[in-house]
């Protein structure tokens, strides 16, 4: 699965790069607008090691942000699953926070928590958690009547049991959403680094943009793609392992 993810990414990247080079040569654009293949290669040789470290840094924060967001979404989803006043309040708060643009929230975050690792983490988690939350809310609000009816009828239903039943019955959906949210966590971390950090690949992309260096941006995109493909592949493998362990198949 891992190698399939990687070569699929390589095909997509190569197609994109090929299209860019085709535009460059058809329109006769200079290396300033789109660098030549040899220019990209040279830039890659110069920056690959540094950018790989930057992507690793970003991945570490994205993973931590994803874990936070999954827990947060789990908590909000479970608390907000009931049609009570508190459930509705939780949902409104969660939706509203998501509606605010991160660039507008960033200055407030700087004042509250500074401009280091925690801000990156928080922004990554904020961008990542919403889709997970929607899935968790959907799953947790939907009763599994066949099973739950028995426990209700016998008076043995507790909220913990209800959550377990619904999570177990939708394990496939949950693991797919969590694996998919890795992309969002990664994107969220890059956005955070772009606007609020001094480290990570988002920060390096910002510098490359200031220098109008398309070659560096292409190398950064390549690194992000490779690392993200590997990470998502690993998450999918983990999801399958969890499903096998819990579901016995």
């Amino acid at each position: 699965m891992l190698h399939r993810r990687v070569y699929q990414f390589l095909i997509i990247f190569a197609l994109g790069l090929g299209l860019l080079f085709a535009i460059k040569y058809v329109m006769g654009l200079s290396d300033y607008v789109i660098p030549s293949p040899s220019g990209v290669w040279e830039t890659g040789k110069e920056t690959a090691r540094r950018y790989f470290g930057d992507v690793g840094n970003t991945l570490g924060v994205a993973m931590a942000g994803q874990v936070i967001s999954v827990f947060l979404a789990g908590f909000v989803g479970i608390a907000g699953r009931r049609a009570t006043w508190f459930g509705s309040f939780i949902k409104v708060a969660a939706y509203n926070v998501q509606a605010y643009p991160i660039v507008a929230l960033a200055p407030i975050l700087f004042i509250l928590v500074g401009d280091g690792l925690f801000t990156r983490l928080l922004i990554a988690a904020m961008i990542c958690y919403f889709p997970v939350l929607l899935s968790v809310l959907g799953i947790m609000s939907e009763p599994v009547e066949d099973i739950e009816h028995f426990y209700r009828a016998t008076g043995r239903m507790r909220w913990q049991l209800e959550v377990k039943i619904r999570a177990f019955e939708n394990l496939g959906k949950l693991t797919t959403v969590i694996s998919g949210s890795a992309t969002l966590a990664f994107a969220g971390t890059i956005v955070a680094e772009f606007i609020a950090a001094n480290a990570g690949i988002g920060y390096s992309i910002r510098i490359a943009l200031y220098q109008s260096d398309m070659g560096k941006i292409l190398v950064a995109l390549f690194m992000i793609g490779i690392v993200l493909s590997l990470y998502q592949g690993l998450l999918e493998l983990s999801g399958q392992a969890v499903r096998r362990a819990w579901g016995g198949s």
């Binding site: 200079s30 300033y32 607008v33 001094n198 200031y210 220098q211």
Partner: protein, 325 residues
């Protein structure tokens, strides 16, 4: 009665004149460096006062921003003219982009550093030693500050370089001693804001220490300059007329009125101060016309970029300078 040949001839001329369609204005897109604010006052003035139309041009002014690159748009054919900083032009030339400079808008770079003179006194470059200095990594303020530090013999471990972003909180909190701003835009706003809080501010201008890194200039593609020199001349003439009129103190009220149409967020008193500061940066001190290209400053900018490793070798920047007037 049959009209005479001369009457028919006169009628034919009159009819031909009446049927001749009005001369269409040539269209041109002008990509600015930044959003509509004081730094583009001349362009807005020229546009709203019909100076482009006078030259037979229909010009669309498009706002710039950090993600916009006028040089790229010239090459892609998305704009005919643009405003770009000198480092952008030199970097583009180094990578084979056929961009030329037809006028230099700012004679003094508006990129300066704000600081609190109560906490820090800068009389010489050595006074920067041991300070926390704000820079935008990758931006031209980084290049300028590194040049200044090198000039003063200050190594990087003798100062603390702080990566700045859009928000000024670290400067307000006093965590950073000097912070890069555009002197004529944010500089005035911060000066006013801190002044109202009872704090004094001052500005550190690299040009005072011999570093003249050129800022915004008007650019076009070599192809446009070569094939349509008249078009370029008419555009530059109209634009610089706009700048000259906007910077003329007797037109201050009209300039502010013009700016207010595009920049509603900035209060009038701030705009007035911004205009006064911009005038000092745009109008050449030696009596030369607005828009004059300072070739020596361009060569120095190129030299700085070589020293800072931003370009590998000289690009012969003087070949890119094509003053139109």
């Amino acid at each position: 009665m049959i009209p005479s040949a001369s009457v028919i001839g006169v009628l034919a001329i009159v009819l031909a004149a009446a049927w001749q369609p009005a001369l269409a204005e040539e269209e041109a897109v002008y990509r600015l460096k930044w959003l509509f604010n004081i730094s583009v006052a001349g362009g807005l003035y020229a546009d709203t006062h019909g100076y482009f139309s006078e030259q037979g041009l229909s010009v669309v002014l498009k706002e710039g921003g950090p993600e916009r690159d006028a040089v790229r748009e010239l090459e892609m054919g998305q704009a005919l003219f643009g405003t770009a900083s000198a480092d952008q032009v030199i970097r583009a030339r180094a990578m084979g982009s056929p961009v030329v400079v037809v006028a230099q808008l700012f004679q003094v770079n508006p990129l300066q550093w704000i600081y609190r003179p109560g906490e820090l006194r800068i009389d010489r470059l050595e006074d920067l030693r041991g300070r926390v200095i704000g820079i935008t990594y990758g931006g031209n303020d980084e290049t300028i500050m590194r040049t200044l530090l090198a000039k003063a013999g200050i190594s990087e471990d003798e100062v603390e370089l702080f990566s700045v972003r859009y928000d000024y909180t670290p400067f307000f909190q006093g965590r950073v001693s000097i912070w890069p701003v555009y002197r004529n835009a944010q500089g005035v706003i911060l000066e006013d804001r801190l002044g109202r809080a009872g704090e004094k501010t001052a500005f550190f201008n690299p040009a005072d220490y011999g570093v003249r890194f050129v800022a915004n200039s008007v650019v076009t593609a070599e192809k446009t300059a070569g094939r349509s020199p008249d078009l370029v001349r008419r555009f530059v003439r109209a634009l610089l007329k706009g700048w000259s009129e906007a910077m003329d103190p007797k037109n201050s009220a009209e300039t502010i009125r013009t700016l207010r149409r595009f920049d509603r967020e900035t209060p009038e008193n701030i705009l007035s101060e911004q205009l006064a500061v911009t005038r000092r940066l745009v109008v050449p001190k030696d009596g030369a016309p607005i828009g004059s290209i300072d070739e020596a400053a361009w060569r120095q900018t190129e030299q700085i970029m070589i020293e800072q490793g931003q370009i590998q070798e000289a690009v012969g920047v003087e070949k890119a300078l094509r003053p139109v007037f």
